[in-house]
């Protein structure tokens, strides 16, 4: 099955070609050739199939498809058996044919400028359909039967009057299930990017083109970026479903895993993945895998669990037009409220607690939360987090020069933390380190430090932690009034490796089992060496980009 792509992510057409003892044959293609081209291909048939096209007369056709009659395509795309089982890709001028010849032949055609990842996705789809067809062929000669049907229909049409420009493929469509499946695959790829077929009404082939589902302001998100983000999901993140629970469950295939069903039923925007694991009685690894799967298919996004202190702001990609379908949908969902007014409220960063009016009845409050969820699902809001960076004022001796010692901590230490084991949990969510995270308090270095007191052990630990700093930095820090308190200094030293601007407040809170107020107080005490800023979390900001 060949898919031919038009614009960058949609196929131009899908073609089914077979090569056998009786020669090469193009069985089916969709969309059908246009009428004008049908006549030209008919006339060429009258001469010899191998006659040259008079290049002068051929119309400029951006699709390129109609330049190649069926017979030519069949010859071009037919492959010998030793090319089977491998990726097939043939580009002719600006048209690309992509497929996966099996014992059957299934090329896809894609326009030349398509992203290589789109092409490999097309290969993937080709292959899957081919595998399903191969299976059905072995079981009940499905393909042979369908092929016979297609050939018979083609013969029938050619035997009709020559002047009839009806494409044979149009006749095939209502009679032949495989043709309908191919048409559906093509249509789905062009629109939603999600394909679900039942070959021979039996074997399911599902496929999604992430390029259609995940887009950032008009450009598709490359699957590698998507995969990187998925790998960076943490146990403290939450899964936000994009459809209602009911709708989602209805879309699942009959033989889907019960774990998936359980997850969907127990999922909630206020629950983090770790809690979800406990509630759904699954281990964390499973949760991550299922969550990644749902996100990949565009059925859910990763957010930080909803809570009072979350701060949200209008996304730069948000469509705030008065006439957008979003505005209409919002009005239907929440009558007597309009979307632009709600969005205006988030023009300045707003926390959930500020958004809710404590004087209103609790019913009103619940609706406000629903609105926030609604807006998050449609990527209208981004969440802001606080990031902190250690930057000590430069010494007076050589101001303005960028000596090695002036390089901030991260450049010198090279990313490795000297202190807490919680640093190990910054790996991929599927690493075994994270799998042992059952509760944050267990993965907490404070257990190592003896509570209270200025014991020699504690002092030594603090010294070690501060060892990665330069002499100048150490001096400045030790001169801060707050550093005179051993407890404060110890806390500061322990958290030092977070102060590189890559870990937000909530992550520190989770990893170190600390309260927000504790951290904020610490930041305030050491503000002369810390710089604080707020922005979105780059890890999940990918999921906060708009659709379509």
């Amino acid at each position: 099955i060949f898919f031919k792509c038009g614009e960058k992510t949609s196929p131009i057409s899908v073609i089914l070609v077979t090569s056998g003892s009786r020669g090469n044959k193009l069985l089916f293609r969709y969309p059908f050739q246009r009428v004008a081209d049908c006549t030209s291909s008919l006339t060429t048939k009258q001469r010899s199939p191998y006659a040259l096209n008079t290049t002068g007369d051929v119309l400029e056709d951006p699709d390129g498809d109609s330049r190649f009659s069926d017979i030519i395509l069949a010859t071009i795309l037919a492959t010998k058996s030793d090319m089977c089982g491998k990726k097939f890709e043939l580009k002719i001028d600006n048209v690309r044919f992509v497929g996966h010849p099996t014992l059957l032949q299934h090329p896809h055609t894609i326009q030349a400028n398509a992203d290589p990842s789109v092409i490999s996705c097309m290969h993937n789809l080709s292959r899957r359909i081919a595998i399903a067809l191969q299976h059905e062929e072995r079981r009940c000669q499905y393909l042979t039967r369908e092929a016979k049907l297609m050939l018979a229909m083609q013969d029938e049409v050619t035997n009709m009057t020559e002047s009839d420009p009806q494409s044979p493929f149009r006749q095939i469509l209502p009679k032949c299930k495989l043709a309908r499946d191919l048409k559906e695959a093509y249509d789905s790829l062009c629109t939603t990017g999600v394909v679900r077929l039942h070959i021979n009404n039996w074997l399911e082939v599902s496929f999604c083109l992430p390029h259609k589902i995940h887009r950032v302001g008009g450009n598709h998100v490359p699957p590698e970026a998507l995969e990187r983000s998925l790998k960076a999901i943490r146990p403290y993140h939450a899964l936000l479903l994009l459809d209602s629970e009911k709708a989602l469950l209805a879309q699942l295939p009959l033989d889907c895993s019960p774990a998936l069903v359980r997850l969907i039923k127990t999922c909630s925007a206020v629950k983090n993945l770790q809690q979800l694991a406990q509630d759904a009685d699954l281990n964390l690894l499973q949760i991550f895998q299922i969550a990644a799967h749902l996100v990949y298919w565009g059925k859910a996004i990763i957010v930080y669990p909803l809570c009072e202190n979350n701060v949200y702001m209008l996304s730069p990609h948000a469509n705030i037009s008065l006439y957008s379908p979003l505005a209409e949908g919002f009005g239907q969902q929440f009558p007597s409220h309009d979307l632009p007014s709600m969005l205006a409220k988030f023009s300045l960063p707003l926390s959930l607690s500020e958004f809710r009016n404590p004087l209103d009845a609790s019913v009103q409050e619940a609706q406000l939360i629903q609105m926030v969820v609604w807006m998050l699902q449609r990527r209208l809001l981004i969440q802001l987090h606080t990031y902190v960076c250690l930057l000590v004022p430069p010494s007076e001796e050589e101001p303005g020069l960028l000596r090695d010692e002036e390089l901030p901590l991260v450049a010198r230490v090279g990313g490795r933390s000297l202190s807490t084991p919680s640093a190990l949990s910054f790996g991929s969510p599927t690493s075994s380190d994270d799998m042992t995270l059952t509760s944050p308090s267990m993965d907490n270095s404070s257990a190592e430090l003896l509570p209270g007191g200025d014991s020699p052990l504690n002092r030594r630990m603090t010294e070690t932690l501060l060892a990665s700093l330069t002499e100048h930095e150490r001096q400045v820090i030790l001169n801060i009034p707050a550093a005179q308190s051993p407890e404060d200094l110890r806390m500061f030293a322990r958290l030092l490796h977070y102060f590189r601007g890559h870990h937000h407040l909530e992550e520190i809170m989770y990893n170190e089992n600390m309260r927000r107020s504790q951290l904020k107080t610490l930041f305030d005490k050491f503000r002369s060496v810390l710089v604080v800023t707020n922005h979105e979390d780059p890890v999940i900001s990918l999921f906060q980009s708009p659709l379509g």
Binding site: L52, I72, K80, I92, N319, H502, E536
Partner: protein, 384 residues
């Protein structure tokens, strides 16, 4: 030039008695006999159908994926045995290579050979055909080394080839966009560019927007737009937004690169330091960027961080931050929310047009627009 490395150049033809074969290839034996058998129908037997199309074929050779790019030629004439001469000069490269530039080369080569054959029977004459081999060797060497090749074939024909990099289509340039040079302006060679570009060059200072450039340089707006779009395409300029002290910005996650990346640090600090001052220190500059938050204007920033801003040119600070996406501008979008059915639907106050755009289009100043909208209870403003 690592992008489009050519691994092999081959010349294949349909021999009247021997059938399809590879007559010459450099380096020798690159394409094995078995491999050629597999792909030959694509390259040779379907010449008649694929005549003059650029063909690119993916193949598996010794477990590494390669691409074969060719442009078959079919010249029909009674003088040839079988009444046609079929040949294909192609190249092989790694499958991951971007092939657009190579395809053009192949097409051009096929054109050259066709011309040579039609003029002097270059290919059909066994003696002159032998010259192909050294030609192919030179092509391979020079194209890989420098990306270009100039090779005289005979008195009247010279092959001129150059690998041209494909670039992404640039964004549309709006009249309220501000072009700013990405490199030092002194490196810019005026004479290489068209007249319009040369005319507006002096007015591109990273602060004038397109409309202003057009007015001051006395060049029609659309011409300015196109010229800047061209500069954008070649990466000579990038676009930022109009600067005003009343502007509001906020940081992006990329602001951390100022801490992580030494080269950005160095570049930034030298860019933003006030002329004639000692170099600003990283902490001050970083604090200034982090001081940009929703609700804070540049004016507010300067008064709040008056000490840090002493050695820093705040306009260049903002400019650099925008160019490197360390910060982003928060634009105001007015939206008319009214229940009144009788009033006209809003044209500009729909949430799709920013203050920048409205002011540019209507000639109002920000202040005037603000005053007008503040008094209208039906209009709300979103920032994003």
């Amino acid at each position: 030039m690592g992008m489009s490395r050519i691994e092999c150049i081959f010349f294949s033809e349909f021999h009247p008695t021997l059938g399809p074969k590879i007559t010459y290839q450099v380096p020798e034996e690159y394409i094995s006999r078995e491999l050629f058998d597999t792909v030959q129908n694509k390259l040779i037997t379907v010449y008649v159908h694929l005549d003059n199309y650029i063909i690119s074929l993916l193949m598996d050779q010794t477990a590494m994926e390669k691409k074969l790019i060719g442009c078959p030629v079919c010249i029909e004439h009674k003088k040839y045995s079988r009444n046609a001469l079929l040949f294909n000069l192609g190249l092989v490269c790694d499958a991951r290579t971007k092939t657009c530039a190579l395809e053009l080369i192949v097409k051009k080569l096929s054109g050259y050979l066709t011309t040579l054959e039609l003029e002097s029977g270059f290919i059909s004459n066994e003696e002159s055909k032998q010259k192909l081999l050294p030609i192919m060797s030179t092509l391979l060497e020079e194209l890989n080394a420098t990306g270009a090749c100039t090779l005289p074939i005979d008195e009247s024909n010279t092959i001129n080839l150059k690998l041209i990099e494909q670039r992404r289509d640039p964004l549309i340039v709006q009249e309220y966009d501000v072009p700013v040079f990405t490199q030092c302006k002194d490196h810019f060679i005026k004479s290489q560019w068209d007249l319009t570009t040369q005319q507006i060059l002096a007015y591109i200072d990273g602060f004038r927007h397109i409309q202003k450039i057009s007015a001051e340089a006395d060049v029609e707006l659309n011409l300015v737009r196109i010229a800047v779009q061209n500069l954008l395409y070649y990466g000579v300029v990038t676009l930022v937004s109009i600067f005003q002290y009343s502007n509001v910005y906020c940081t992006t996650p990329k602001v951390q690169s100022l801490i992580d990346d030494r080269s950005i640090q160095a570049e930034c600090l030298s860019y933003v330091t006030k002329q004639g001052q000692k170099r600003a220190c990283l902490r001050d500059v970083f604090q200034l960027y982090c001081g940009l938050t929703p609700g804070t204007t540049v004016r507010d920033l300067c008064s709040r961080y008056s000490q840090q801003v002493q050695r820093v040119d705040e306009r260049r600070l903002i400019q650099y931050g925008l160019m490197k996406a360390l910060i982003r501008r928060l634009q105001k979008y007015p939206v008319k929310v009214t229940r009144d059915e009788r009033s006209r639907p809003p044209r500009l106050y729909t949430g799709c047009h920013s203050y920048d755009e409205i002011c540019c289009k209507t000639g109002m100043s920000y202040k005037e627009l603000d005053e007008r909208l503040e008094n209208d209870p039906n209009i709300i403003v979103c920032w994003k």
